[in-house]
């Protein structure tokens, strides 16, 4: 019996080493997991989040600029104050978004896209201004400049903006997967540490005939707290991150797609008239865009199916559909008038100032989509902030708990070891 007892201090130290290693492991993995989550969420609100928002704004602003430039061309040499403002605002939004994106890009591919867009933007505005000048001078060649500007936008700039947006959204959803992941390694180590602590207490009480070892009990309590905090913080931040996607980023992506598609359809409608009804390709492209918007199972249908029961979005989605359908049926009349040679009437119907002009329904569509986009963007920001908040202090707290548990366990076992030398 004495010989066996002589090895007990060694055994105690061995148990302490195992308990210490497990607590340490749980502490480190738990803390790094929370830090990593926090960094990823931080990234969605900063870098990749800002890049996504900038890319989206850029894409929207460019589409809007083109639609406005094309329709204002149709009003002759004197576009309305409102149209002028709308074009200038779209250009400002595009340049600001481009500058923001330039500061946030992290990959060579994105850097090149931003550079491509940056190089083309002044060329585009140059063509638009040349078109306006010739138009003002009454020279028909202005129309060709406007068409060339739109071709540059359609064939080179919008695809680049689209790619940039796709890349940014890809990064964002990758971040989301990381942020939603549960820290399984930390959880497993925590459970192992708790198990070992319980076993060590049973083992000690058998060896020493004392029921409680206060140090180990303290360590166990602290580790239970550790496990609880880890689970709560991870689940809560995961939930908020999921909400940021389902209620925010999800509708945001579809809504902005709808908004951009509507702008592009509007640009094609104007181009059809700028070409004096002699551009069959513009008519085809208009049909493609409007089908993408209101066709069966397309953007507005998808929005309706996914968010139709969302109280904040459903009204906007319904308004958008109604306006889009009014616009689309009115467009048929515009084409008919243009094809029949009633060109002036066609232009008046498409871009005129009257209440009955298609500008009214297009603006209603655009406003409804913009309102819904804003709601979704706010929700995304709120949920991301909540996710961030649910993690605040968790890393430091977990480290403190693990440290406390480690000290308690060491003290508890050390007290038993000391008894052998007393």
């Amino acid at each position: 019996v004495l010989a066996a007892l002589r090895f007990t201090p060694g055994q105690l130290r061995g148990v302490l080493a195992i308990v210490a290693a497990l607590i340490l492991g749980a502490g480190i993995t738990g803390m790094t997991a929370i830090l990593a989550k926090s960094a990823v969420i931080e990234e969605t609100t900063s870098q990749s989040g800002r890049l996504s928002v900038a890319a989206l704004q850029l894409y929207q602003a460019l589409s809007q600029a083109d639609a406005t430039a094309a329709s204002s061309y149709l009003t002759g040499g004197t576009p309305s104050e409102e149209m002028n403002d709308s074009y200038r605002e779209a250009m400002r939004d595009a340049t600001v978004a481009l500058a923001t994106a330039a500061g946030e890009v992290r990959s060579p591919a994105d850097t090149e896209l931003v550079a491509q867009l940056n190089a083309r933007l002044p060329v585009y505005t140059g063509l638009v201004e040349t078109a306006r000048t010739f138009n003002r001078l009454g020279e028909p060649v202005g129309a060709t400049y406007q068409e060339q500007a739109s071709t540059l936008m359609r064939q080179e700039m919008l695809p680049s903006a689209h790619d940039l947006q796709e890349n940014a959204l890809g990064q964002l959803s990758e971040s989301r997967t990381h942020a939603e992941a549960f820290p399984w390694a930390a959880a497993a180590l925590t459970i192992a540490a708790l198990g070992t602590l319980v076993w060590a207490q049973l083992w000690l009480s058998r060896k020493t005939n004392r029921v409680l070892n206060l140090g180990l009990v303290g360590a166990t309590v602290l580790m239970v707290g550790f496990a609880g905090w880890l689970a709560m913080a991870s689940l809560a931040s995961g939930n908020h991150t999921e909400r940021s996607h389902d209620d925010g980023a999800g509708p945001l992506e579809l809504l902005s797609q709808a908004e951009i598609t509507a702008q592009q359809a509007r640009a094609e409608e104007s181009l059809l008239l700028i070409a004096r009804g002699e551009d069959n390709d513009a008519a085809v492209r208009y049909e493609e865009h409007i089908t993408e918007l209101i066709g069966e199972g397309r953007l507005l249908d998808r929005l309706d199916a996914e968010f139709g029961d969302d109280p904040e979005l459903s009204a906007s989605i319904d308004t958008a559909r109604e306006a889009a359908e009014t616009w689309s049926s009115g467009h048929g009349e515009v084409v008919k008038l243009a094809r029949e040679g009633s060109y002036t009437d066609a232009v008046a119907l498409a871009v005129g100032d009257e209440e009955t002009s298609l500008s009214t329904s297009f603006d209603a569509l655009n406003d409804a989509l913009t309102a819904a986009t804003k709601t979704s963007a706010d929700r995304f920001a709120d949920a991301t902030n909540d996710a961030q908040r649910s993690l605040s202090g968790a890393a430091a707290g977990l480290a403190a708990l693990a440290l406390g548990a480690l000290i308690c366990a060491a003290v508890g076992i050390q007290m038993r070891v000391a008894e052998y030398y007393a």
Binding site: A36, T111, E112, A119, A143, Q148, A275, Y343, A410, Q414
Partner: protein
């Protein structure tokens, strides 16, 4: 803690004392790593290579098929139908809607058929000719529906009953005679060159292999250019108006199209002028659906009347005399019967 430190065996001390620092250090390292990962990026990236952006029209073709045109002598294209004694009523019987005539025109060919950007009205030489025809056939120049169309659409629009006739810088050729009926020739144009005044180019023949000449994709120009000069590089665009923009932007050195169309371009830019001899003959005629010969006969009579009473000359003087720089008279007409 102090109390136990002295009593602790060395191993336990090491474990117990160093452990608190370890997670902190690891955490610091992890945090530093994350920060580093977040901060790497643009600073390490090469500036991207971006091509000089050159705006180009959709559908531009820098290497079109350029086999030299062979003159078609299979018919006498200019011989149309003798007006004879066909009445306006007989002509109207061949309209799709006897109350309203539909005429295919261009709204985008400056000086020939275009929508004046200032007044938003249709104007041009072709429009004046067409209006005279409306007056003759319908007795009222408002009984007309103007149908704008691209040049590729001219023959299908007649065949599909979308229009009764086409007055749209349409050259009379033997090949087209197979699908439509033509009136007698109402204007004789020719393909020439539009170039910058300060360029050395004096004509198509003297252009070099370094130079590019722009023309419409659907016109016969590419073949006509190749028949004169096989060195020069032809460039085609779907809409010839893009040629003017490309010339102004310096992308091409010259535009080769009918002089009537070139005149409409030259008046929009005082730094450009038309040069060289015509290297093709383009005889414009009014086209009708195949079989509508009564309509063609009546229109031939109306054209002859328009030439005789000076309406033709007024139209020419209004639109083309100054830009083309020549006094021209109406072409003499020949009939096949």
């Amino acid at each position: 803690m102090t109390q136990h430190r002295t009593a602790q065996p060395p191993t336990a001390t090491r474990d117990g004392r160093r452990s608190p620092k370890r997670p902190a250090r690891l955490a610091a390292a992890a945090a530093a790593g994350l920060l580093l990962a977040a901060c790497t990026g643009p600073a390490n990236m090469e500036p991207p290579n971006v091509d000089v952006p050159t705006p180009l029209p959709a559908g531009i073709d820098f290497s079109p098929d350029a086999s030299p045109a062979v003159p078609d002598t299979s018919c006498n294209p200019l011989a149309s139908y003798n007006p004879g004694a066909v009445t306006a009523e007989q002509a109207r019987a061949q309209l799709d809607d006897p109350e309203q005539i539909s005429i295919g025109i261009s709204q985008s060919t400056n000086l020939m058929g275009y929508r004046d950007p200032e007044t938003n009205r249709l104007a041009g030489f072709d429009i004046d000719v067409a209006t005279a025809m409306v007056k003759a056939i319908m007795g009222d120049e408002t009984k007309v529906r103007w149908v704008p169309m691209i040049s590729d659409d001219r023959e299908p629009a007649l065949a599909d009953d979308r229009v009764d006739m086409v007055v749209r810088t349409m050259s009379i050729t033997c090949k087209r005679w197979e699908n439509v009926e033509f009136s007698s020739e109402y204007f004789r144009a020719g393909q020439r060159l539009l170039v910058a005044k300060d360029s050395e180019i004096e004509g198509l023949a003297s252009m070099t292999g370094e130079q590019q000449v722009c023309t419409g994709a659907s016109s016969t120009s590419v073949g006509n250019i190749a028949a004169v000069n096989t060195e020069v590089q032809p460039v085609t665009v779907p809409d010839f108006n893009d040629c003017l923009v490309l010339l102004q932007q310096g992308t091409v050195d010259a535009v080769a199209i009918d002089d009537t169309i070139l005149a409409g371009m030259a008046v929009q830019d005082p730094t450009l002028h038309i040069v060289g001899e015509a290297f093709s003959q383009e005889s414009y005629g009014i086209a009708f659906q195949k079989g509508n010969t009564d309509l063609a006969r009546f229109v031939n009579g109306a054209l002859a009347a328009m030439i005789a009473d000076g309406t033709w000359q007024t139209a020419y003087d209004t639109w083309l005399k100054v830009p083309l720089g020549v006094d021209a008279a109406a072409p003499t007409t020949t009939y096949r019967d």
